[in-house]
């Protein structure tokens, strides 16, 4: 029999969002337990491993050996493969690193453990314990054995699967149009440019894109996201990715050494991420940027806020949804406006024809933008193809 446990703050899931939340809750004095159903934190990797870097200081993550490649920019390819380059200068540090995601996740878990967090591996939450409507912990299984963990504050950081939130009655369901189904190969012996992260848009990946994130020495993550509502037959993600690779000799000659898949939410921000006794963070709260599909940064940023509020609630003995508004408001103040703006932009982008994509990228290819934002992009496109910007009037 595994013993039942008690803690102040229980974090379910040891991804970046969970580890950050756990660390900040412990730093603020709470007794924290983090459970992870896998046997190894960070593995298997379900990620393209690209991230920006300007936010790392804000959440106090120090550079470490998880940094794999530092890129200079990103290149956006239209369907006819016209290129628009975004470099560090006008992206305002938006570009950044390709990382070793397993190392990154482990480092964040180490930081959490060093701050005093207890970590249990191979321990899965299987349902919630409730006192009336309030969540008061979980039923869990460790190495297959059932037991209970009681905690005034429970955090759902269980990633895209987002079951904990749904068990608590927080609507985190997403529609088919709000999700990309993803597949990625790590390939060796490919002709990628280690200075850039590359993105291929249009019909090659309906409602998503093909990405190439360089890992150095002819190694790259070559992946695809396809909007589920645009999937026409099973395994479309694989079909589209294999087709893209076959059509690009520099990649067709490569060899696959790894394969990962997963779901990425591309939804508008959720209306609710807290309930009595529980808060959601990271992918579990659908915090992925709906335009880029990146979720590491947002999960960490929200995690810091979530952990801080969790410790305060435990200290105050008030884990009510009213108290948790501090988190709800805090993460929204920091992230919601951009999430919403990028969601609107994405909603538009997924409707564009290949011809329009070509025009947009062609118009941008020649110009030097002072600052990269939707307004400047539209102005540049308007000068060359005024008919195209008509579709975007809402943004002007």
């Amino acid at each position: 029999m595994v013993q039942n446990l008690k803690t102040d703050v229980l974090v379910i899931g040891a991804g970046p969002a969970g580890s950050m939340t756990a660390k900040w809750a412990a730093k603020h004095g709470a007794k924290v337990l983090m459970i992870e159903k896998r046997q190894e934190i960070g593995s298997p990797v379900r990620c393209g491993e690209g991230m920006s870097k300007e936010w790392l200081k804000e959440v106090e993550i120090k550079p470490g050996r998880w940094i794999n490649v530092e890129v200079e920019g990103a290149r956006i390819y239209s369907p006819s493969e016209k290129v628009f380059e975004i470099n560090e200068k006008h992206a305002g540090n938006e570009v950044g690193y390709v990382v070793e995601r397993d190392e990154f996740d482990k480092q964040l878990a180490i930081d959490a453990a060093n701050a005093g967090v207890e970590v249990l591996l191979k321990t899965a939450a299987t349902s919630l314990l409730k006192d009336g409507n309030r969540v008061v912990g979980v039923k869990a299984k460790a190495f297959g054995e059932p037991f209970e963990i009681r905690a005034p504050v429970t955090i759902g950081a269980d990633g895209f699967e987002s079951q904990v939130g749904r068990w608590a009655g927080i609507p985190t369901n997403i529609a088919m149009r709000d999700m990309d189904t993803c597949l990625q190969y790590r390939m060796t012996n490919v002709d990628c440019d280690v200075r850039y992260c590359d993105f291929f848009l249009g019909r090659v990946a309906p409602g998503g894109y093909v990405w190439i994130f360089p890992k150095g020495e002819g190694l790259a993550n070559v992946g695809i996201g396809v909007q589920v509502s645009q999937v026409s037959s099973p395994a479309d993600a694989r079909t589209y990715l294999d087709r893209w690779i076959a059509n690009h000799p520099g990649y067709a000659k490569g060899k696959k050494i790894d394969m990962v898949g997963g779901g990425v939410s591309i939804s508008a921000p959720l209306k609710q991420t807290v309930a009595d006794g529980i808060m959601l963070v990271g992918d579990a709260a659908r915090m992925i940027d709906p335009l880029t599909g990146g979720g590491i940064a947002n999960g960490c940023i929200a995690g810091k806020i979530c952990g801080t509020v969790a410790a305060e609630a435990a200290a105050a003995g008030d884990p009510s949804k009213e108290f948790f508004q501090k988190y709800e408001k805090g993460w929204r103040a920091r992230l919601e406006e951009k999430l919403y703006r990028n969601w609107l932009a994405k909603e538009k982008l997924v409707t564009l024809s290949d011809t329009t994509f070509d025009k947009v990228v062609d118009a941008l290819a020649g110009v030097r933008l002072e600052k990269l934002n939707v307004h400047n992009i539209l102005r540049a496109v308007h000068e060359k193809y005024p008919e195209v910007t008509k579709e975007f009037e809402a943004f002007l």
Partner: protein, 63 residues
């Protein structure tokens, strides 16, 4: 009366890559993934086929 169609997740490793995409989108939250083990609640599932589309490798079949 025709019986419910049967849903089959090829999760013995032949096709499934244990990515969790189906888990996250199932509107009834009736698929559960633990490392390399998938369980699925036959009684709750409505055979809406959303998971079939969400699976990147085509490991879910309904017939």
């Amino acid at each position: 009366m025709p019986s419910k169609k049967s849903l089959h997740i090829e999760s013995s490793g032949q096709l499934c890559i244990y990515c969790g995409a189906c888990v996250g989108i199932c509107p009834l939250n009736c698929i559960y993934l633990d490392e390399t083990r998938i369980t699925f609640d036959e009684r709750v599932c409505t055979r809406c086929e959303i998971c079939v589309k969400a699976c990147p490798v085509g490991a879910i079949e309904i017939d």
